[in-house]
Every structure is written in structure tokens, then in C-alpha cells.
């Protein structure tokens, strides 16, 4: 068992696709919440297998894309501050803020370093004791525990020059906000597999219980995605609404208790600004008061001009599933992965980038 090829069998994929194509019910909108699912669906040509009465919408599950300009502007300001090394994940480099990007800040002399893990940022802090090393922490529940572990390690090692800007976001509150907006009808959610590997299935129960919408926590290999869609259609056909776990090999119902404990020890929920969704109560994570010393915003005086949005960019509507990328006038014309105007085109997992990279596929 290697946990990869086994879940890509073409003959089984055909059978699962056959089940989906046999769906004869009312037209439905299914939302894949997670950007990794968006890419998997395009890469494996799954959209082309769907019958006309099953439509997939992409949701707000790309952390890079939902990061608000005001937060990006803070990271850019930090990068240009003398004595500061700004560390972050690679996806963030090219994302345009209101006036610049981290890439441009680096070209202007800012010390911006891309790391694979938050622990790499700790190594940098150890090697540069005279400088302030700040981690610009983006990501959902999958990533937040890893950042929490880095903060706990920094305290354990008495590292006085490591701090973070937490712009972490939580998936369930965003789904509630999306549903409460009433902007579009969603008949089923393909829920993110790796967020759920951490949080388990309980935090989504309100979607089935209060909104009557079927949910399936789904893996990322082609057979996983096809089965996830088939399970959603089976619930819809049976008139049921439950939170099912398709990705059972990686998602126990309780998630990962050690990772959750680490996350809750360091962070507490706070209001967060989402691109496209606005301010959502208790949808972000901020450092607990006990860890205030690791909050870059308290340690360093960050000054940013008022944020502004890119004119004509419809990323916000794309993130809410309200429009598909080609409906934006900038898509593929002035906005491309080589020269992205909005974040949904920057991140490989952004909905616009996925549409662009797999157009004609």
C-alpha cells in the first residue's frame, strides 16, 4: 500500500463515473470547498464526466486567495522594515496587495525568504539573532497547528526574535457565512480532506442539521473525488442530509486531537476579514494573550496606507462561487498566471489559475 496509485485505477473510475452519470434527479450545484479539490477536478478531467444536471462550483478554500489586501499590505510593510526578515510560504510571493507584492518588496531590497515549514523560519531566527524574523502565517486548520507548534518551540527555546502575523482562517464559519448570504443555492458540499484530517467531522454537522445540505469529506485522488460526488448524489436522491466521510483512511471522525490541542493552546478564534466574504465573526485565529510576545503586530509598529482593491478584479465573486472565472473581463486577457492581477490567478490552487491552466483540457 503506497496510498497513491491504488486510488487512481481507470476501470474503477469509469464505474464511479457511470454512477454519477446515472443521476436522474433535479439539477444540482455541488461546491468543492477546497482549492486542492479544484485542481484535482480539473487535472483528472472530472468536470467533463459530469452530466448536465450536476454542476460543480468552486468555493473559498484557497488560503492565499482569501487573504485580504489589508493583511497582505502588512506583510509587505514588514518586509521593507530594516532589521526584519519576512518569512512565508512560496504561494504568497507573487500575490498583489493594494500597492505592491512581497516579490516587489524583495526586489526593492526587502529580506523575504520562502520556507517549506514554519520550523525553517525558526532556524533562520536562530541563525540571525540580531534580526527580527517574522512568519506571515496563512492557511486553514491544516496549517495552523504547524504554526502553533513553531510558536511553542520558539518559547521553549527562548527565541526572542521570532514572531508571527496570524491571518489563519477557519473553514466551517466561512461555509456558514456563504450559506447565510443566500446568494446561491448549494445542494451539496465536497468538504476538504486535509482540513478534516485535523478537525474531524463534528464541526460541519450544522450544515446537514440546520441547513439540510449533504456533505461528504473527500480525498484528493481521482477515485476519491468521483466517489465523493457519487455519495453526495446518493444522499440527494435519498432526500438525506448527513456528513459522510469518504476519505476514511485519513480522516477519523475525531480528527487529530494532538494537533487541535496544539492549535487551541496557542490561538483563540477571532474575527477575520476574508476577500470576497468580508468580515466573518470568529473565523480567524489570533494568538492568545499568553503568547502576545510572539505577535509581530504588537512587537513591531507596522504602518500601512488604507487598502484598496484591484479595479475590475472579480476574485471575490469567484471565491463565493457566484461567477466562473471566464465571466471576469480581465480573465486570460490582462490577468494571467504570468501577470496575475488578482490572487485567484496567482495561487496554483486558485480557481482562476485552475481554469486558465486547464482551459481546453
Amino acid at each position: 500500500m503506497k496510498y497513491l496509485e491504488e486510488f487512481r485505477d481507470g476501470a474503477v473510475a469509469q464505474r464511479l463515473a457511470g454512477r454519477i452519470q446515472a443521476y436522474a434527479g433535479r439539477p444540482v450545484n455541488l461546491m468543492e470547498v477546497c482549492g486542492t479539490h479544484t485542481v484535482a477536478i480539473f487535472r483528472h478531467g472530472i468536470r467533463q464526466l459530469l452530466p448536465p444536471n450536476v454542476r460543480m462550483l468552486s468555493g473559498p478554500g484557497c488560503p492565499v486567495c482569501v487573504t485580504a489586501n489589508a493583511d497582505l499590505d502588512k506583510a509587505i510593510a514588514l518586509a521593507l522594515m530594516p532589521g526584519v526578515i519576512l518569512t512565508t510560504f512560496g504561494d504568497m510571493l507573487k500575490v498583489p496587495g493594494s500597492y505592491s507584492s512581497l516579490q516587489r518588496a524583495r526586489a526593492e531590497g526587502g529580506d523575504v525568504r520562502i520556507v517549506y515549514s514554519a520550523l525553517d523560519a525558526l532556524d533562520i531566527a536562530r541563525r540571525h539573532p540580531q534580526q527580527q524574523v517574522v512568519f506571515f502565517a496563512v492557511g486553514f486548520e491544516t496549517t495552523a497547528p504547524t504554526i502553533a507548534a513553531s510558536v511553542a518551540e520558539a518559547r521553549r527555546q527562548s527565541l526572542g526574535n521570532y514572531s508571527i502575523v496570524s491571518v489563519h482562517k477557519l473553514v466551517p464559519p466561512a461555509l456558514r457565512a456563504l450559506l447565510d448570504s443566500g446568494e446561491l443555492r448549494i445542494d451539496g458540499f465536497l468538504l476538504p480532506g486535509h482540513v478534516s484530517a485535523i478537525i474531524g467531522s463534528a464541526p460541519y454537522q450544522f450544515i446537514a442539521r440546520d441547513y439540510g445540505i449533504p456533505c461528504v469529506i473527500t480525498g484528493f485522488e481521482p477515485l476519491d473525488v468521483l466517489q465523493g460526488i457519487a455519495l453526495l448524489l446518493a444522499q440527494i436522491t435519498a432526500g438525506e442530509a448527513r456528513v459522510e466521510i469518504q476519505y476514511r483512511r485519513a480522516v477519523p471522525p475525531q480528527g487529530n486531537p494532538a494537533a487541535l490541542a496544539q492549535m487551541h493552546a496557542i490561538f483563540q478564534p477571532g474575527d477575520a476579514e476574508w476577500r470576497g466574504l468580508g468580515l466573518i465573526p470568529a473565523s480567524g485565529l489570533r494568538l492568545r494573550d499568553d503568547y502576545a510576545a510572539f505577535d509581530a503586530e504588537r512587537r513591531l509598529a507596522i504602518e500601512t496606507p488604507p487598502p484598496k482593491e484591484q479595479r475590475g478584479c472579480r476574485c471575490g465573486e469567484v471565491l463565493r462561487g457566484v461567477i466562473a472565472p471566464p465571466e471576469c473581463a480581465l480573465f486570460g486577457k490582462t490577468c494571467t498566471p504570468e501577470n496575475p492581477l488578482g490572487p485567484c490567478m496567482v495561487s496554483f490552487e486558485g480557481t482562476c489559475a485552475a481554469w486558465y491552466n486547464y482551459r481546453g483540457a
Partner: protein, 82 residues
Amino acid sequence: MCLAVPMQIMEINDSQAIIAAGGVQRRISLLLLPEAQVGDYVLVHAGFAIQKLDEAEAQESLRLWAELLAAEEAAEEEVGRG
């Protein structure tokens, strides 16, 4: 961004593990999965093991799919003969 890759643990030293992926060895942290053992397949995200893969559950999925395949192929043969 929430990409996580299955990798096998080769060696454990305190809270760190050596994992093998595609012929390359890498060091990852076990701080979020302290119960991991040598030989386990784990999901690795941003340098951390975040979940142990459950082989029994994986085998069960594969078994159900094999059954689906066999049942539908048998049904098609029936139709072909009839």
C-alpha cells in the same frame, strides 16, 4: 495549499522522523502526531506529519471498489448473453 502527501516513516529521533518519498529522504516533525511509529505511512504537510494513514480503512475502500467492478462486469456479461 492544504496539499499533504503520504510518506513512510523510516526512522524516529525524539520528535523528528526521517521519511522516504520518491527515493528522497527528508526530515519532518512529529510534534503534531506523537504516536507515529517507524513503518507508518503519514500525511505530511508543511514539514509536519499531520495524520496517520489507516491501512485497514484504505484496504476496505479498495475492496468495495473491486466488488463494485466485479458486480457491474458480471451484470454486463449477463446482458451480453441475454
